[in-house]
């Protein structure tokens, strides 16, 4: 196990260049002693740039933990994680914050927007925080992609759940991050709104070359991805390329058995 210091983060490893995100020997243990729970038991995984990958697994399989560790939201117990050419394990809080700001986008299940800001302000929030200029062309493109042009002045409380999640998608896209992590993005939506949001995610991968890693327990949602990786008991067990809802479901049923 190597704990890489901050000094290493700008030194690229050519092997990781092809991947937007990669992890090697990733373990995560909560608690200590008798109460210790092994959430991840040594995961090696890589996510290709410009692809849409879903992480699936039964409840308690560690899929959310994996995503949090990959995104630098949670500290790993051992192993290393690269986002692009930057090794993020061992970065301090300030460096991680900057990394998230510049390279990572997030879409969460719910309560995803700031209630005091309008849709437009919410979309531009990551750029505001980073103090970056708005790329007007990209903004127009993103807004049109998610179809929010006539809702920009509204506050979250005036938007439907689907619209709110589209704002969150637009917010994740606007910073052109290395990777977007989506945690159950359709978990709180009805099926039609969910399908819309997933289409936008797929479109952004196809047309904008965006990399997306999505955690979900919904086979239909997973079928929008290019590839699905399956987790069980904190270990990566199998993967599927070009999934269909049926093939995902079959794999899940096998895993549960």
């Amino acid at each position: 196990m190597t704990i890489t210091g901050a000094g290493h983060r700008l030194v690229g490893n050519p092997a990781q260049e092809r991947f937007a995100v990669s992890a090697r020997g990733l373990t995560k243990v909560y608690g200590a002693g008798d109460a210790a729970v092994r959430a991840l038991g040594g995961v090696d995984v890589a996510f290709a740039a410009g692809h849409f990958t879903a992480i699936m697994g039964p409840s308690g399989s560690g899929k959310s933990t994996l995503m949090h560790c990959l995104a630098g939201l949670d500290a790993v117990t051992s192993g290393e994680v690269h986002i692009g050419d930057v090794e993020i394990t061992g970065l301090n809080d300030r460096q991680l914050t900057r990394l998230r700001r510049e390279r990572v986008g997030f879409i969460f299940q719910a309560f995803n927007l700031l209630p005091t800001l309008t849709a437009e302000q919410n979309i531009l929030l990551p750029l505001d925080i980073a103090g970056r200029q708005v790329d007007q062309d990209l903004f127009d493109q993103v807004v049109d992609t998610v179809g929010l042009r006539d809702r920009l002045g509204h506050r979250p409380s005036q938007l439907s759940g689907g619209q709110q999640q589209r704002v969150a998608v637009a917010r994740a896209l606007i910073g052109k991050p290395h990777v977007i992590f989506a945690d159950e993005p359709t978990g709180n939506l009805d099926s039609r709104s969910g399908a819309e949001v997933l289409s936008f995610l797929r479109t952004s991968v196809r047309e904008l070359g965006q990399t997306i890693v999505m955690v979900t327990h919904d086979p239909v949602a997973a079928s929008y991805a290019d590839r699905v990786v399956f987790l069980r008991d904190g270990l990566l067990v199998t993967e599927l390329y070009r999934p269909t809802p049926q093939s995902v479901l079959d794999t899940l049923v096998k895993l549960e058995a």
């Binding site: 939201l73 809080d93 914050t97 900057r98 998230r100 997030f106 309560f111 995803n112 005091t116 925080i129």
Partner: protein
């Protein structure tokens, strides 16, 4: 249900802690007030009782006659009659008068002459000698210990005291005494002499009191009757017990005034605490909507939900009040220790928690807590069972109700009307009370419309932070406006303290300006020499030789002598005065409103403008006045003069005429102007050298008098500000509490911001800015109310008091409020920024 409530209390321990501290501080202040004043009163009463114990019967002076100038006394002859009454073992007269003590600098000490009192001997001696012995011979004296300490005298020294004709007498200082509860003596300083010497020195024509000791076995009442018979019916004769009761009553009044004043500040603090409690419970109820709804789902009635919130308030209130009781006891003890250290003329008694204190103080705290929690409890009953199933809580929207607006407008009109009425009825105590009532009503109106005005105000105060601090600034401003009701209650708690502080500083600044104005008027010259005051502010005189000496000194320019005497006009006393011949119209130029001052000659007079109105006289009229010598003099009025600069007597006559009417009397005042080009220091030296032979002649310069007034004003301001600080501290606890609870509510938002790349430090900054805005809004409202009502209060003072806003002080107050808000946010901000992002996002 009870179990659920108690479990909830345990869970919210930390959140209720700040509320408890707010209550405890308020209760503590009230308890402290009771403990302190009880101890003081007990101490005073103990002292009085011990004193009175020595006296079996006392003869008191007759009731004051309205016309008499002096305090009535008991004629010297009565003492002998009392002594010979049956059953009297001993009787001694108490003498009290004035005898200026000469300090080591050769000048009479203090601005008011030292008192001289007689020290009784034997059993009737009520003086507490703290060092040395009581005076036993005519050339022995004692002095109060605090004067001895400040003027540097010690037992064994020789002291010089002036008698009533300003003749010097020397005494051997044989002891020091403690004047105890006699405030006047403590203030003036006192010299104790044997009774005969005291009579001789003060020129007193009688006794203030005659104390009588009973012979063995004579009951007090029989002795009282015997003494009454001997003294005659003109003098009230009381037993020692009655005397003690009377003295205690007089003293109790003083202490009660102190106690009432302190309690008023305590109540202000509790009012602020009530706002904090109200807000805390409101927020807790809002946060627990789902929990309460769940209780309703599983069958709890509305009454039970209401009861559970009220019970929570009762428990918190009770615990906090008891803590406050202990805190207050400590505060009282501390204050007493400070009093003792400062050697204040109040003998501290033992510390006690009277039953009244133990019941009243905590009960007030409990009551305030429960009443403040009633509205939130009512809101809790409105939680609909269905809310338990809802996934998200709605953002509170706030709309001003019609009833609210109407009542606020009515209150403002009523309060404004009352204030205007109070001002229009003219200066005085009554109008001041009316204005205070008006101010309270307007404050209530502000309390009601708070949620409406807090939005534009926070937008206003937030304009700069919004621009300066980027995303945290913008979000902080939005957050501060997010829940107007909550923000309003939080800020208005601060408004109370800041408003009262502003009011006090406006009033003191105005009074200061008024005094400065008056000083300018009364001090048209560099120095003023007048005699030390003796009793009741009667004008004392300085010998003419002093003015003559001054005229011979090269550093001195003009010397103006002022003399005044009383004459009778139309049967009423009117003052006739003169000013050194050359002065009037040259150095001192009163405004001539009618006639011609140049025509002032023997047989004529200039009339003061005020008197012209009240006496109905004018130029050309002749006033016939009667001098004290019985002479009748006709004064033809040649001019009516008015002066902003000088006090003018009713009639001003030429110097020669004045001497003719009243004889060679001494100066009442000497006004001295330094010669052109002489420094103030050099002139001062010359004036002091000239005044040195006359111990009671006091030299004042305008700057000194102003400094004296200024320090008195500063002291007052400091004390009031210190007492109000408690209310401010409690409101800061409120800000900290609100922020902590709000930050808790926004845990997920904070986590989202962190996930999107906001650093911890900027997240903390966000809460600090929100606190800054809350502090500033509270301060702005407070300052506005304070200035408006400060102005109203100033208008109820003397009509020519100017209205002055101490801009620097007010700005400082606003800045300090903002800063205090930021400090209040430190802990909540740390807690908010420390939270784990994952935990916050994961929790559903």
């Amino acid at each position: 249900m009870l179990k659920a409530t108690l479990a909830g209390l345990r869970a919210h321990r930390l959140r209720l802690l700040l509320t408890s501290v707010a209550i405890a501080l308020g209760v503590g202040f009230i308890t402290g007030t009771f403990v302190l004043t009880d101890a003081l009163e007990a101490g005073v009463n103990q002292r009085i009782a011990a004193d009175a114990d020595k006296v079996d019967v006392a003869v008191r002076p007759p009731k004051a006659n309205a016309d008499a100038e002096d305090r009535p006394v008991i004629p010297l002859g009565v003492l002998e009659k009392v002594r010979s009454a049956p059953g009297v073992a001993d009787a001694q007269g108490l003498v009290s008068g004035v005898a200026p003590l000469i300090g080591k600098d050769g000048k009479a000490v203090g601005s008011t002459a030292t008192a001289a009192i007689s020290i009784s001997t034997g059993r009737l001696d009520r003086t507490v000698i703290v060092a040395g012995a009581p005076p036993a011979a005519a050339d022995e004296a004692v002095m109060d210990d605090s004067t001895a300490a400040t003027r540097g005298f010690a037992v064994g020294d020789t002291i010089t005291v002036l008698d009533h004709r300003d003749r010097r007498h020397t005494f051997r200082l044989v002891g020091l005494m403690d004047v105890g509860v006699q405030q006047e003596l403590a203030f003036r300083g006192a010299v104790g002499l044997t009774a005969d010497t005291a009579l001789r020195m003060t020129g007193a024509k009688g006794y203030q009191e005659i104390d009588v000791a009973a012979a063995q076995g004579v009951p007090a009442e029989r002795l009282r009757q015997a003494v009454q018979a001997a003294a005659g019916t003109a003098y009230p004769v009381v037993t020692g017990e009655e005397l003690a009761a009377r003295l205690a009553r007089d003293n109790g009044v003083d202490i009660r005034i102190l106690s009432t004043m302190l309690l008023a500040f305590g109540l202000v603090a509790l009012l602020v605490a009530a706002l904090v409690i109200y807000n805390t419970f409101n927020i807790l109820v809002a946060q627990r909507v789902r929990e309460l709804a769940l209780l309703r789902c599983i069958g709890a009635s509305r009454g039970q939900v209401f009861g559970s919130v009220v019970l929570e308030a009762v428990v918190v209130g009770a615990i906090a009040s008891l803590a406050g009781l202990l805190l207050g006891y400590g505060l009282g003890a501390a204050a007493l220790a400070v009093f003792e250290r400062l050697n204040l003329p109040l003998p501290p008694g033992s510390l006690t928690l009277e039953p009244r204190t133990m019941v009243l103080a905590p009960l007030t705290g409990l009551l305030v807590t429960v009443v403040a929690a009633t509205l939130p409890a009512r809101a809790a009953t409105k939680a609909r069972p269905i809310a338990a199933l809802g996934a998200r809580t709605e953002e509170p929207t706030y709309r001003a109700g019609r009833l609210m607006i109407v009542s606020a407008v009515l209150l403002t009109l009523l309060g404004g009307g009352l204030t205007a009425y109070g001002i229009s009825t003219g200066p005085g105590e009554g109008p001041l009370m009316i204005v205070a009532a008006g101010g309270t009503l307007v404050f209530l109106a502000v309390l009601i419309v708070g949620p409406v005005i807090v939005r534009p105000l926070s937008a206003f105060t937030g304009a700069l932070p919004r621009r300066l601090f980027g995303v945290p600034g913008r979000l902080a401003v939005d957050n501060s406006r997010r829940n107007p009701r909550r923000s309003a209650t939080t800020t208005i708690a601060l408004t109370v303290g800041v408003g009262l502080m502003t009011l006090i500083s406006v009033v003191t600044a105005s009074s200061r300006a008024y005094l400065n104005d008056r000083l300018d008027q009364e001090f048209p010259v560099d120095f003023q020499i007048s005699a030390q005051r003796r009793d009741g502010g009667l004008d004392e005189q300085v010998p003419r030789a002093l003015a003559a000496d001054l005229r011979n000194r090269p550093e001195i320019g003009q010397v103006i002598e002022v003399r005044r005497a009383d004459a009778r006009f139309n049967g009423r006393p009117e003052e006739i005065g003169m000013m050194s011949a050359a002065a009037l119209g040259t150095a001192v130029r009163p405004e001539t409103t009618a006639g011609d001052l140049d025509r002032l000659a023997p047989g004529t007079a200039a009339l003061s403008g005020n008197a012209a109105d009240s006496l109905g006289l004018g130029v050309g009229d002749t006033a016939t006045v009667r001098t004290p010598g019985g002479r009748s003099v006709d004064l033809r009025i040649v001019a009516v003069i008015q002066s902003e600069m000088l006090y003018l007597p009713t009639f001003t006559v030429p110097e020669a005429s004045f001497t003719e009417y009243f004889g060679e009397i001494d100066d009442i005042q000497i006004l001295v102007q330094a010669k052109e080009g002489v420094t103030v220091a050099a002139a001062r030296q010359a004036v002091e050298a000239a005044a040195r032979p006359y111990p009671t002649a006091q030299v004042l310069s305008a700057a000194e008098v102003r400094a004296e007034y200024d320090s008195a004003m500063d002291m007052l301001l400091l004390i009031v500000a210190g007492l109000l600080a408690l209310a401010v501290i409690i409101s800061l606890l409120g800000i900290a509490n609100t922020l902590a609870l709000s930050a808790h509510e926004r845990t997920r938002e904070s986590a989202l911001l962190r996930a999107l790349g906001l650093e911890r430090s900027r997240l903390r900054q966000m809460l600090s800015i929100e606190a800054l805005i809350l502090g500033l809004v509270g301060a702005l409202v407070g300052v506005t109310l304070g200035i408006v009502f400060g102005w109203a209060v100033v208008l109820t003072q003397a009509s020519d008091v100017p209205f002055v806003v101490p801009v620097a002080q007010v700005l400082l107050l606003i800045a300090a409020s903002g800063l205090a808000g930021v400090i209040a946010a430190v802990l909540p901000a740390r807690r908010a920024a420390r939270g784990s992002i994952v935990a916050a996002i994961a929790s559903g």
